[in-house]
């Protein structure tokens, strides 16, 4: 029987008492004020709420808190402090890959998960890696370029 959910959020212990069926998305945004996690659809169809759960990309709207118990969750709030983020930040900036910004935190975390699996992806692999993260602004070109150049310039980081 699950009473409270204890998990690790961005390196720190987090305790959730809002019930195991609550969405990780809502817990992160409302409970822990990680508002960099964006809510675009609540149906797993857009990727705006993507976070890293035990090293893998997930849509936080698709995760019940009971599933997150004992896990490590990383949001953009934690990831932005990393050296790898700095590399992606620089490459996204250099090609203006951020427009409205609503898909961006999820997109950056998708890039991280792609690069940790495959540090030198080709264009097709990058496109496949971010294929669950919808962007309505950019046409994806700039994002793909940014990830590609982060992989090259961030040699050794992944």
């Amino acid at each position: 029987m699950i009473r409270e959910v204890v998990f690790n959020l961005n390196g720190e212990t987090a305790v959730w008492n809002g019930g195991p069926a609550a969405r990780l998305l809502d817990a992160l945004r409302d409970g822990f004020r990680n508002t960099g996690v964006k809510c675009g659809c609540r149906e797993g169809e857009c990727g705006a709420c993507a976070v890293i759960l035990d090293g893998m990309l997930v849509n936080s709207c698709m995760v019940a808190m009971g599933r997150a118990g004992g896990s490590e969750v990383m949001t953009i709030e934690g990831y932005k402090k990393t050296e790898r983020f700095a590399a992606l930040d620089k490459s996204f900036a250099s090609v203006s890959a951020v427009q409205c910004g609503f898909c961006t935190p999820g997109m950056v975390l998708a890039a991280e998960c792609l690069l940790r699996e495959n540090p030198r992806p080709d264009e097709g692999e990058i496109r496949a890696g971010i294929s669950g993260n919808l962007c309505r602004c950019t046409g994806y070109n700039a994002i793909v370029k940014a990830i590609s150049s982060a992989a090259k310039d961030g040699e050794g980081l992944w």
Binding site: T35, C46, D89, F92, A93, S96, Q99, G101, F102, C137
Partner: protein, 705 residues
């Protein structure tokens, strides 16, 4: 500084770190959550609304709570804040339920009983007996041209609903504050919203403060819609005496907010000696239940109905019909994409009827500088379309591929198509001069930092960056000394709405001129305020809206699109192999930003032609109301997207810039469908979106028995 060279966008850091504050990111302490009670009938009289017992702190607001006019001020004022006796579409707001706990509000909402007396809904243009707007205009003598024609061709083209699918749904927060009310959130046009809220509240505008929150995409979908939602939220918050937050879920946003008008365009063309001498065009838009922006969408649509071509004799009629469906409004291109699809296919089909290559045929008809426009204005500046065609043709080997893809067999067949379009830059007609009268200001502080004061919003298109570049460039100060805060009607003048691809061309130029003046008057350490007001360029032939005569636009942005694709004859599915475009938006104020606009817009244009399909059932209910049913392109769908810029400088815009944002969404559909027609074996397609089902139907592929 070279104004074209890209800089790091000023909103980059706050967005990529997740620190930017969108409307849903504000703390909700002490706030009420609001949900709209919506009509479940497409057309009905509302006889009774029975509320369940509401717990303490839960309130319901409806038409009886509207202190001012129960009308939303948009262009006309037929949209009610809350339904007044009748409902006109499924989703028409009847009231707003609010309370401190969101789940409780949702549960209570389900328990509200509404008694209706249903009336038969009107769901299509064909069945509509109410014409909201009906315009005609003419040029030359079409009767004579048709009488003398060698050939007359007639076709009809249809386009479907298109949903903006911005990643952030519509949402606003209204806060009562003494005798004033503040509304902030996801929106394009603060002063539009101020006007609407003031009207509904019966307040003078200075008692209404509208603030922009970082907005997650809009594309026109937050041009008129926030005026409606703000009026509702303001009325509710005023009643409650507490802040009220209304943020739509994805399905609510998709089903009940504005979309691109479905259209039906009839084209009749006269051909004499291999040239189109006349067109008789009948444009019909499905406006939905209320007029919202249909008047101006229709105006733009009929003005561009003959495309980029110089057609000597023209008769154009345009009508917007009322139906009991969600009101359609602004969407990037604003009435342009529908007739541009139609006219491009019409020209392509005429060419094929005559046995000539469509591109060569189109080239013979392209307008040139000095030619008379559809409305008797002039193309005052060079028309670079023919040069842009060469740019695109070279990038994709267009003519070679067009030849190579003839007479294919096998289950994978390729096609390539090209389309041409323009977008009239800025407001249609005299709107800028007579209605908007834009004002922009620069305020210099004692520390020599300069604040840009305009009402224009950066929804992702990069305006805060490009505005700052213009000002920094003229003042010769670093970008980081330019301050641009989120627009707040208490602090910024009305520089007009962020629409119509006008912001850089019009407001950017006001800022440039203001910066020039500030530079000339610059007093180190002092506080200074410089203001600039819009002046219409002297060469413009004044536009007469009654007669549709004159320069509808001060200038035009031009585009050439090509799409190459491969159709699978077994499944009808289509893979886009490449999408190519050349775009003339004048001087790009930041190449990355402009290219990003062109790429994103092109993808929306291809989506419009292909996968973006929204079905309405027989009761008037939108069926595809989720991102799994109404699908938009993913990163894998248009892998080879090449957007090039062609720079034809516009002397009245800042550094030669003209309208940019909408252009890429206007023309791609024609190229996509021309490619489909070739891939499927020289077939004719007269509608979009074109789906795999359509392809299979066309192929008449009987089960391979």
């Amino acid at each position: 500084m070279n104004i074209k060279e890209s800089v790091i966008k000023s909103d980059h850091a706050m967005k990529i770190t997740g620190e930017a504050v969108y409307v849903a990111d504000h703390p909700t302490d002490g706030m009420l959550f609001g949900r709209l009670l919506r009509s479940s009938k497409a057309r009905a009289r509302v006889l009774d609304v029975r509320l369940p017992a509401l717990p303490d702190g839960y309130l319901y607001a409806d038409k009886n709570d509207v202190p001012g006019a129960n009308k939303v001020k948009i262009v006309l004022d037929d949209t009610p804040v809350f339904a007044d006796g009748t409902v006109e579409f499924i989703g028409d707001p009847i009231g707003l339920l609010m309370g401190p706990d969101e789940d409780t509000v949702n549960r209570l909402l389900e328990r509200i009983e509404v008694e209706y007396e249903g009336l038969p809904p009107v769901l299509s243009i064909e069945d509509s007996d109410t014409v909201f707007f009906d315009y005609t205009y003419a040029k030359g003598n079409t009767d004579k041209a048709f009488a003398e024609a060698d050939h007359i061709f007639e076709e009809e083209f249809r386009t479907g609903l298109q949903e903006h699918a911005y990643l952030e749904t519509n949402g606003l927060i209204a806060r009562p504050d003494g005798g004033r009310i503040t509304v902030h959130g996801s929106l394009q046009c603060p002063y539009y919203v101020q006007g609407a809220v003031a009207n509904a509240m019966g307040f003078e505008p200075d008692r209404v403060q509208i603030k922009y929150d970082t907005t997650g995409g809009a594309f026109g979908g937050k041009e008129d819609y926030p005026s409606i939602l703000a009026a509702q939220a303001a009325v509710a918050a005023y009643k409650a005496g507490k802040p009220v937050r209304v943020i739509f879920g994805r399905r609510e946003d998709m089903e009940f907010t504005s979309k691109r008008h479905p259209s039906k365009c009839g084209y009749k063309a006269a051909v004499k000696d291999g040239r189109v001498t006349a067109m008789d065009i009948d444009v019909k838009y499905n406006a939905g239940a209320y007029t919202t922006l249909s008047k101006v969408v229709l105006q733009r649509g009929i003005i561009c109905a003959c495309g980029v071509y110089n057609i000597q004799n023209l008769a154009v009629r345009g009508r917007a019909y009322k139906t009991n469906t969600v009101p359609n409004g602004a969407f990037r291109g604003f009435g342009g994409p529908q007739p541009f699809f139609a006219v491009e296919m019409m020209m392509s089909h005429i060419a094929r009827n005559l046995g000539v290559e469509p591109l060569a045929f189109k080239e013979r008809h392209v307008a040139a500088q000095g030619d008379v426009t559809s409305t008797g204005g002039r193309f005052h500046f060079p028309v670079p379309i023919l040069l842009m065609i060469e740019q695109v043709a070279k990038a994709c080997n267009f003519r070679e591929k067009r030849e190579a893809y003839k007479n294919q067999t096998g289950t994978r067949r390729k096609g390539i198509g090209m389309s041409l379009c323009y977008h009239g830059a800025g407001f249609t007609g005299a709107g800028e001069r007579d209605l908007i009268k834009a004002v922009a200001k620069l305020r210099k502080y004692p520390d020599n930092k300069v604040e840009v004061l305009t009402a224009n919003t950066d929804m992702g298109q990069g305006l805060n960056t490009t505005f700052a570049k213009i000002v920094a460039n003229e003042l010769k100060i670093p970008m980081h000394d330019i301050i641009i805060a989120n627009p707040d009607t208490d602090r910024v003048p009305d520089s007009g709405p962020t629409v119509a691809s006008r912001s850089i061309m019009v407001v950017g130029e006001l800022l440039r001129r203001a910066a020039v003046r500030l530079r000339e008057q610059w007093a180190d350490g002092g506080e200074q305020l410089v203001e600039e007001r819009f002046k219409e360029p002297g060469y413009v032939i004044p536009f007469d809206l009654e007669k549709f005569q004159g320069d509808a636009y001060p200038t035009y942005s031009w585009a050439v699109n090509a799409v190459e694709l491969e159709a699978d004859t077994l499944t009808g599915t289509v893979k886009v192999l490449g999408a190519y475009g050349s775009f003339d938006v004048g001087t790009p104020i930041d190449r990355n930003i402009v290219t990003g606009q062109m790429e994103g817009g092109t993808m929306q244009g291809i989506g419009f032609a292909s996968m973006e399909r929204m079905a309405v059932d027989g009761s008037g209910k939108i069926r595809g109301n989720s991102l799994s049913d109404y699908i938009i392109p993913t990163s894998l769908d248009i892998p080879n997207l090449q957007c090039m810029l062609y720079e034809e400088e516009y002397p009245e815009g800042p550094y030669g810039a003209k309208g940019a944002g909408e252009l890429p969404a206007v023309g791609a559909a024609g190229a996509y469908i021309e490619a489909i027609e070739q891939a499927l074996g020289d077939v004719r397609v007269n509608h979009i979106p074109f789906t795999a089902e359509d392809a299979i139907e066309i192929l008449h592929k009987e089960p391979s028995l």
